[in-house]
Amino acid sequence: MTALSFPSAPAGPPPALLATTTSRRRLMACAAPDLASHLALVGPLPDAARLPGVRVAELAAEAGLTGRGGAAFPTGRKLASLGEAVRSGRPPVVVANGAEGEPASSKDHALLAHAPHLVLDGLALAVRAVTGAVGSSAGGAEAHLYAPAEVVRTLAPLLVERAAAGVDEVAVRSTAAPDRFVAGQSSAVASAVAGGPALPRTPWPPPRLVGAGTAQRPGRPTLVMNVETLAHLGLLARLGASWFRSVGTDDEPGTRLVTVSGAVRTPRVAEVAGGAPLADVLSAAGGASEQLSALLVGGYHGGWVPFGERAPHTASLPHSGSALAPWGADPGAGVVIALPSRACGLRAGADVARYLAAQTAGQCGPCVNGLPTLAEHLEALADAGAAVPSRQHSREGLARRVHELHRVAGLVDGRGACHHPSGSVRLVRSTLMTFADDVQAHLGGRCLAREER
């Protein structure tokens, strides 16, 4: 995968300008390589007297901040949810999750490379929120940075720098995340920072209540938050909820980082207003480089939205959960992949399905068996439209495969310890729905994308 980065920009605006501007560049305006330049740019965090823990969670709720790792869970509620477990006397664990297992996403990597201190500020605030909620000191709480090994290595000096400056109540430890799709699922993260394997666990009881325990060491309530969510929290704490809401829409307030790739002029990580029209999201990457037929929105666990000549109306469709729901998509972790008209959507869907099948952690039967079955049927359907199919296909055989795709998708959906089987099913169902005309063409040995060329 090619690492994308923020486009080079002059040093960001001073804090006063940041506070008044309605620019969409917020996180991206905070690029600072070291603590001194970070503090010069955005100022210190308000201390616990001015911004007590309970206010941190309230502020996130007032701002309408939601998780940027994919699930879009309300951050305020998440921060408040540890209260009960922590009140029972077990010190909490808070994790900044930068694992970013999604191959089409680079925004967390780019953020950690350019504005790491903003993320670590957010982590400090989350620790304050979950410990401050009980009015105790942070005694016993743990803060973790969970990210790919090379990121952990690069950021090690920063953690030393922060410890020396005494900016964090709780020193941050780091844990290397393995390079696999499911390593960023929250139960896998909770397990990894507790010293176990980075594999999803059964989601009950949830990690936020019990963490990931071992025989030697009982679990502790564990809060896993995406690094971009934490960076927003770091700015929000300084500038307030109404500042946060001054960009974006009512249901998608603030900005979000997106990774735009595929058939666009300048594939890159960009920051866009929440709920921006899909055409604007593409423009942030220089716009389409050729005629498009669809966008894969939300990543490999996301959905296809028809786009371009086939569906002129979706150019103005908001990049929001509610607007994208009819297509089985949501903004997810901000991934947008532009599919050119000359590429077959069924082939693209089959390639993603095959990748997802290979990324099963191998723990849950319906996922281990179901995902390869789905990939095989989708691959055969894609192959039937090829100029020279790799084997013979009958219309009846292909129609049976389409029926099997729907039936097996129903067998896999929801039947696993993590979101991987359900997310994979969503991609398969969306492929069949958005490319329904392509399915009909392939049943007869034709391919709409081939006819476009």
């Binding site: 059964t202 009950w204 039967g365």
Partner: protein
Amino acid sequence: MSAVERLHVDWTRCDGRGLCTELLGELLAEDDWGYPVSTTGEVAPAVPRRLQRAAHLAVGECPRMALSLRPAP
């Protein structure tokens, strides 16, 4: 009258031994690969009163300790 319970499978433990589908055939069938799948269409089926005894038996007999009953939320 006791609260409604739902039958949950810990998929990281289940390896499709099949005892539960025998003991609780009205609620669980085998899927294409031999793993228990609810006959009601729910991922975690609600257990009707008359099947409560059989459900508790299935939970107790699962050799992988993969089945559990939890109060419905």
